[in-house]
Every structure is written in C-alpha cells, then in structure tokens.
Symmetry: C2
Subunit: 137 residues, 2 copies
Amino acid sequence: GISTGRLTSNMDWSEFQLNSDGLIPVIVQDYKTNEVLMLAYMNEDAFHITLSIGKMTYWSRSRQELWTKGMTSGHVQYVKSLTLDCDHDTILAKVSQVGAACHTGNPTCFFQDLVAEEYLEKNPLKVFENEFNIIKD
Amino acid sequence: GISTGRLTSNMDWSEFQLNSDGLIPVIVQDYKTNEVLMLAYMNEDAFHITLSIGKMTYWSRSRQELWTKGMTSGHVQYVKSLTLDCDHDTILAKVSQVGAACHTGNPTCFFQDLVAEEYLEKNPLKVFENEFNIIKD
C-alpha cells in the first residue's frame, strides 16, 4: 500500500483502470444515511491529496483544475472510507458531508426525477408485474 | 417527456451531458438498503430499452454491445426510479436487484477496501480530529 500523510491506501493509483480522460469516477455517498450525493472524478494528484488531507479532492473537468470540495463553500467532505469495485475502474467514497453536497444548495446533486417511484407504484401494469415477480421469486 | 413503452422519462436523452465516449454514467443503488451496487454506462439505445422493458440496460464498454443486466445470469435489476444530477451528466438508478449485482457473486461490486473506516476510527489523530469537528459544528 501507499502511505501519503494521514491515510493509507491498500492499492496504488497504477492499479486503477482509468477512463478515456485518464480519470477514475468517484461515487460519493453519505456514510450515515447512505444517500448518494454526487459523482466526481479523480486524477492521480487528486487521489494523493485526498489521502494526504482526508478531504475529498477531485479533478474538475469543466475548470480543468484540482478541486478540494468545500474549500470555498465550506461544504467539505471528510473521508470515512474508500472502496474499489471489482474491475478497478470506480471508487466508492463514504464521506461525512458538511452542509449541502450540491452547488445548488440541495443536499444531494440527484434531485431531478426522470422516472419516479410514484409512477411505478401507481401504474397498474407495474403493480401487477411487481406482484408477479414477488410470487415468481 | 418521452414515453417509450412502460416507463416515461421527464427528460429526453438529448438533454443529457455525455462524457468523452458519448455515454452517461449510471450509479446503481439498491432501492431498499441504499447500498451502492455498481457503476455502468448507457448510450441512447440502452436508455430507451431500459424505459421500454423496465430492466436496467447498459452499453458494455469492454464488449462494445448493449447489455440488459441479468439476461444470462438471471440477476436482473428492475427499475424503481431514475434521477438526474444537477449538471445532467449522471443518472442515479434505484433498483430491485435479483441475486448478486457483481459478476464475482458478491452482492455489490464495491468490496475492495482502499481506506477502511476501521483505520479511520482507530487512528488516534483521526479520532481526535473527528471529535474536534463535532465540537466545531
């Protein structure tokens, strides 16, 4: 493992599978509620800074710069755990989120319903199918 | 909104911000436990098929083909809700997962600890910092 200041990672950056932009996507989840807060991206520097300071740090694709979340807003994300997926191409970060995760002030960046549970639960065909699936199980 | 068979999306594919590969990443979460299961990618066809059949369908980047999760394994993911993030470049899917989400047989694809909560909670400096942050709040 690589030790960079406060936190130690069991795996090195070189063991990750990067996307077409040379980045790894990071799913950010509230460690207490398990609510998914956002998706962001890390380059190697962002990963090492995150380990060094214990605060989630990303590569901003729009601004093309390193970005320690909360440095201006105060809405810091303290690292609680980092977990890698089976094919080494995505990180799941559980964090302690100070304030709102979203720049809109919303607690999570995911607040625009495309297909809502209400629709699924009230649609007669879906209700029937759900029942059928339960019986089939 | 676009209606494609069973499910109706409040927003059209053309309103999404795609990544460098022309895809949108999809965070997949168990709708009951809120456990994050995997990250996958959709192209336009995958999105429309998902709406049509109510089962999560992706674009496999490794096999370069459409992939309705569970078609061979039986480990289908029934759509419970689809939510878009603030900048329209990530979908959060809440699903009813049949069997294991991961091809390894693990319930979730995220099972390799990089930095574990145990480390953070037992490290004296971190314990002190956590206390300090709580007091500061």
